[in-house]
C-alpha cells in the first residue's frame, strides 16, 4: 500500500495529534516488530557491509583521507548527497544502521511534520524499518 504508515503505539500517538489535513488518506498499521540489537551484531553487520556504487567508494575514500580530522569529516558528511547512490547500497547502509537508530529518527521526524511530503518521507522510513525488524526478528 502506497499510503501506509507502520508506526509503533507511541508513534501513533504523535501521528494522531497531527492536523486532520495531514493525516487524511493515510492508513496506519501498528508496527509490532521488535529487536534487541547488540554491539556484537551491529559490529558484524558492519563487517558484512558491501557497497558497490563508485560514488560510495569515493565517499569512503574521502572519509579515510580526513585521517580522523573531525571538522573535515563533519564537513564531508554535511556535503553528502545520496541522490545518485544505487538502491542496493542504500539498502546496505540501512542494514548496517539497524532498526533502533531508524526508530529514533522516525520519532524525531514525526515531531517535526509540517507537510504531506514529510509524511511521505516517514512512510518510506517506516517501510524500511518494518523490513529490517522482520528480517532481524525472525532469523
Amino acid at each position: 500500500m502506497h499510503n501506509a504508515l507502520s508506526l509503533t503505539a507511541d508513534e501513533q500517538k504523535l501521528f494522531d495529534a497531527l492536523p486532520d489535513g495531514l493525516k487524511e488518506g493515510w492508513v496506519i498499521t501498528e508496527e509490532q516488530g521488535t529487536y534487541s540489537d547488540t554491539p556484537r551484531h551491529r559490529m558484524m553487520r558492519m563487517q558484512l557491509m558491501h557497497l558497490h556504487d563508485p560514488k560510495m567508494q569515493e565517499f569512503l575514500g574521502k572519509a579515510k583521507a580526513t585521517e580522523g580530522d573531525e571538522k573535515a569529516l563533519a564537513a564531508l558528511v554535511a556535503r553528502t548527497d545520496l541522490s545518485d547512490v544505487s538502491d542496493g547500497d542504500l539498502a546496505e547502509l540501512f542494514f548496517v544502521l539497524g532498526p533502533a537508530p531508524l526508530s529514533a529518527l522516525i520519532l524525531s521526524l514525526l515531531r517535526a511534520v509540517k507537510s504531506d511530503e514529510d509524511i511521505d518521507d516517514l512512510a518510506s522510513l517506516t517501510l524500511i524499518r518494518n523490513s529490517l525488524l522482520s528480517a532481524l526478528h525472525h532469523s
Partner: protein
C-alpha cells in the same frame, strides 16, 4: 606469510596511502575465510549458514591456530565458535532483509522509498548524515576511535541531539565502544596475506 604489524595501508580514491593504526583482530568474515582457507566464497558462505558447515570451518581454522596467532596475537579459538555462529546469524538476517526489499510484491513500494531517501539531503539532512556515518563506521571506524574524534562527529552533525546524548548516539550507531574495528574490516578491506594458512589447501 609474515606476521603483520599494527599498521596497515589503505588506499584513498586518488591512490594515496593513509596509515591507520589499530590493533589486529581476527574476524572470520566470508571473504577472509575464503582467502585464508583457499575456499570458494560461495562455499564459505553456505558453510557459515549451517551448524555442520560452521563446525567444519571451525576445525579447519583451529588446525592453523598457531599460524593465525602469528598474524593476530589476540586470536583465541575459544571465542571462534561464537563468532562463527554470530556471522551465520547475521548472514541469515541480511539475506532475509535483502530478499524482502527486492521481492517482486514490494518492488514498487521500495522503489518509491529509495527515491524518497535519495532526496533527504535537502529535506532531512540528518537522515543522510546518519546513513553516511553508518557507512564510515563500517568502513573506517577504527581510525576515528583511536583519534577520539567519533564523539565530536556525532555532536557536530547534530545526531547526538536526535538520540538524546552523545553516548546514546554512540551506542546506537558505532561499533562496540572503544573496541576499534580491525583495519581491513568492512568495505575498504586491507588485503589479506597473499599466502593462505600453510596446509589450508588440504581439502575438508
Amino acid at each position: 606469510m609474515s606476521p603483520e604489524t599494527t599498521l596497515d595501508p589503505v588506499t584513498g580514491p586518488s591512490g594515496d596511502e593513509t596509515k591507520i593504526e589499530a590493533p589486529q583482530s581476527f574476524i572470520p568474515t566470508p571473504e577472509r575465510l575464503s582467502q585464508y582457507l583457499e575456499m570458494n566464497i560461495a562455499e564459505v558462505d553456505a558453510a557459515l549458514r549451517s551448524v555442520e558447515g560452521r563446525a567444519t570451518l571451525y576445525s579447519r581454522i583451529v588446525e592453523h591456530e598457531e599460524d593465525l596467532r602469528q598474524l593476530y596475537p589476540d586470536f583465541n579459538s575459544n571465542g571462534l565458535r561464537e563468532q562463527l555462529d554470530l556471522i551465520g546469524d547475521v548472514l541469515r538476517q541480511k539475506e532475509a532483509y535483502m530478499k524482502d526489499v527486492s521481492s517482486p510484491e514490494k518492488k514498487g513500494l521500495f522503489r518509491r522509498a529509495w527515491d524518497r531517501v535519495k532526496g533527504f539531503a535537502k529535506r532531512h539532512p540528518i537522515v543522510t548524515a546518519l546513513l553516511a556515518i553508518a557507512g564510515i563506521a563500517a568502513a573506517v571506524a577504527g581510525g576515528f576511535y583511536l583519534t577520539g574524534n567519533w564523539e565530536l562527529l556525532l555532536t557536530s552533525t547534530g545526531l547526538s541531539k536526535v538520540f538524546g546524548s552523545v553516548d546514546a548516539a554512540g551506542e546506537m550507531i558505532t561499533p562496540t565502544p572503544y573496541t576499534p574495528m580491525a583495519p581491513g574490516a568492512g568495505e575498504l578491506q586491507v588485503p589479506v596475506p597473499a599466502d593462505p594458512i600453510p596446509g589450508a589447501e588440504i581439502p575438508i
